[in-house]
């Protein structure tokens, strides 16, 4: 298939359309604005709906309404806007509505910076809103992978009747690269599903889509959500393991940071240093096994590399290592990018210091 040269945000928009997304509501924010810009003309071409909402709050609630009818719905934003959406994401989860959410992360906290960063890991994986719910979180490290994951995201959302998050960053959103676009998915003739609202032409649904339950019912829902999380952990983990066989040092990195780390690893390998990498593709469910089942008689340490200070994934890593090896971190933050040379030097410094202390 022919390859195209596309900007990340636009490629993600096209992947969504091909994956069946027919409703998008969003609000401008750097560095994701090309996503709503692209969809503003692209969705009408496929009889879909684009709405420039008055705020991220309104956008996520429009998605909530669209999802209630069975339409495949998506919203996108960057970090501060995702905070505003968090109420709506919690409601989507409570009301068991499928939706795809894209976060093209920028520096934080606060208004932060408009440059790329990875500072929303905790928000994405631990508490995307109130009420202790979780959703699947995908973290691509290339435009091609972003396209592939966004294309599949509605399937997961529909399967679980749950919001799904694709966690990108400003680099992936705004850089250009070659991509192969997947084919258009065939969509069912009607958006109506057994649980949606709206007359299907023969029978009235009589359905109530609700984020509020009597307390016993809610406790039951909470328990079902736990069972679902378990299923995710058993069946849906995606991870890339790179040069782990003989690795004495294991980098853990996701998204754009893993691209930089990989180059640093290759450089260090040339110098005879035995480094490898675990790259979570799903941040939730987290690839616990990959870390827990490392050979700790061989591994001398793990290094969490992120475009975030502090490194936010570290606690999840430590929970799997359980003290069997030291865990270090290196990162840049606030919109300052990681680069190959400094990352290689930082890894080398950690290894050297650990060796001289040991």
């Amino acid at each position: 298939m022919a390859k195209l040269f596309m900007k990340g945000n636009e490629a993600v928009g096209e992947a969504a359309v091909r994956g069946g997304i027919r409703f998008f509501a969003g609000y401008p924010i750097t560095p994701q604005s090309e996503l709503p810009e692209y969809l503003s003309w692209r969705l009408p071409e496929v009889c879909g709906t684009f709405i420039q909402a008055e705020s991220e709050v309104a956008a996520i609630n429009m998605v909530y309404g669209a999802a209630a009818t069975g339409a495949r719905a998506m919203t996108g934003s960057s970090s501060p806007g995702i905070s505003l959406k968090s109420e709506g994401i919690s409601y989507l989860s409570a009301a068991e509505l499928p939706a795809v959410i894209i976060n093209v992360q920028r520096g934080g906290p606060g208004l932060g910076s408009i440059q790329p960063a990875q500072q929303d890991y905790l928000q994405a994986t631990k508490a995307p809103g109130h009420g202790g719910f979780r959703m699947m979180v995908f973290a691509p490290n290339s435009i091609q992978e972003a396209v592939d994951l966004v294309y599949e995201a509605p399937e997961y959302a529909d399967r679980d009747r749950s919001p799904v998050l694709v966690l990108m960053d400003g680099c992936l959103g705004t850089m250009m690269d070659e991509v192969e676009l997947p084919p258009f998915k065939e969509l069912p003739e009607t958006i109506c599903k057994p649980w949606t609202v709206g007359y299907d032409g023969t029978t009235r649904s009589g359905h109530l889509i609700t984020p509020i339950y009597p307390e016993a019912g809610l406790e039951g829902k909470n328990k079902l959500a736990v069972a679902r999380t378990k299923r995710w952990e058993e069946n849906d983990v995606q991870v890339e393991e790179f040069m782990l066989d003989d690795a004495e040092w294991v980098i853990v990195a996701y998204g754009i940071a893993s691209r930089v780390a990989k180059q640093a690893i290759l450089n260090l390998r040339n110098k005879g240093v035995k480094v490898g990498m675990i790259r979570p593709i799903t941040l939730f469910p987290f690839p616990k096994k990959s870390i827990a089942e490392l050979d700790y008689s061989q591994v001398k340490g793990l290094i969490d590399i992120e475009m975030s200070i502090p490194a936010l994934m570290r606690e999840d890593i430590e929970l799997q290592v359980l003290g069997r090896a030291p865990v270090y971190e290196y990162g840049r933050s606030g919109g300052v990018l990681l680069d190959d040379d400094s990352t290689e030097a930082a890894i080398w410094k950690i290894i050297e210091e650990a060796s001289s202390n040991g």
Binding site: A53, N61, G65, H207, L208
Partner: protein, 251 residues
């Protein structure tokens, strides 16, 4: 044999109401149900519920329904309607829900001219949470967060929503009614029906405000609360049709 000349409308379930005795939410609920049945559109309706006492309508209306977050009903209704343009989509919101936390959503949906119908139940208080000050609480009216009465120096003035909405270009129908007397109830019913008919006719955004009471949080008997409405509420919030572009567009 006695002839049955009055009964509950079919899209109101045969249950006793959980609204407080004398609360006009339950009358408004019935008027909307009757209108839907008289228009014969029950199966086409998708209702968006707000957060407030009227969330309880999820128990009473026999309709397809979506419960929204506090204040967000017009945004949710927008999403529903854009995906199901064939449906009759309406929301029924209280004054805390619509005029405070949801002010942006309702004004922007009105400004976009969404083809939805909004019913706005104005009881000048936050009923559900126990009678705090609402944006519509009258000057001098007491509430649990203005125990000496609303003071405009620190809390501003009651918001007249119809007067705000009517300034926008897009809405096709903007009207305020009071549910205080049989004559006014009949007028309100007509307005409610018209606001739904507009959607059937594909006309655009309709906004109907209904002045109601909250005897419980006003600390009054139902009868006293009606007198209070007539002496105070209805003087500050004039009942009239502010915008009616339906005639124009029919031409």
């Amino acid at each position: 044999m006695a002839e049955k000349i009055y009964t509950k409308p079919p899209c109101l379930l045969p249950l006793s109401s959980g609204f407080c005795p004398g609360c006009l939410h339950s009358l408004a609920t019935k008027l909307i149900a009757e209108s839907i049945d008289e228009l014969g559109v029950a199966e086409k309706v998708i209702n968006v519920l707000p957060v407030g006492c009227s969330t309880m309508n999820s128990l009473y209306w026999k309709l397809d329904m979506v419960t929204s977050a506090h204040g967000r009903a017009p945004a949710v209704a927008t999403g529903v309607k854009r995906c199901r343009p064939d449906a009759l989509v309406f929301a029924y919101q209280g004054d805390g829900d619509l005029a405070s936390i949801g002010l942006s959503e309702v004004l922007m949906a009105a400004n976009r001219g969404e083809h939805i119908t909004i019913f706005f139940a104005n009881n000048s208080t936050y009923g559900m949470t126990g009678g705090q000050m609402a944006p519509t609480t009258l000057i001098g009216q007491k509430s649990t967060t203005c125990v000496f009465g609303r003071d405009p120096d620190t809390t501003g003035f009651p918001i007249r929503m119809c007067e705000l909405v009517k300034e926008l270009e897009a809405p096709v129908y903007v009207a305020r009614f009071a549910l205080n007397s049989p004559a006014n109830i009949r007028k309100a019913k007509k307005g409610i029906k018209k606001a739904m008919q507009n959607q059937i006719d594909g006309l655009g955004f309709s906004f109907v405000e209904l002045l109601i009471n909250c005897p419980t949080n006003w600390g009054m008997s139902p009868v006293q609360s009606i007198a209070y409405m007539e002496e105070n509420t209805m003087k500050y919030f004039p009942c009239k049709v502010f915008v009616d572009k339906t005639e124009e567009e029919e031409k």
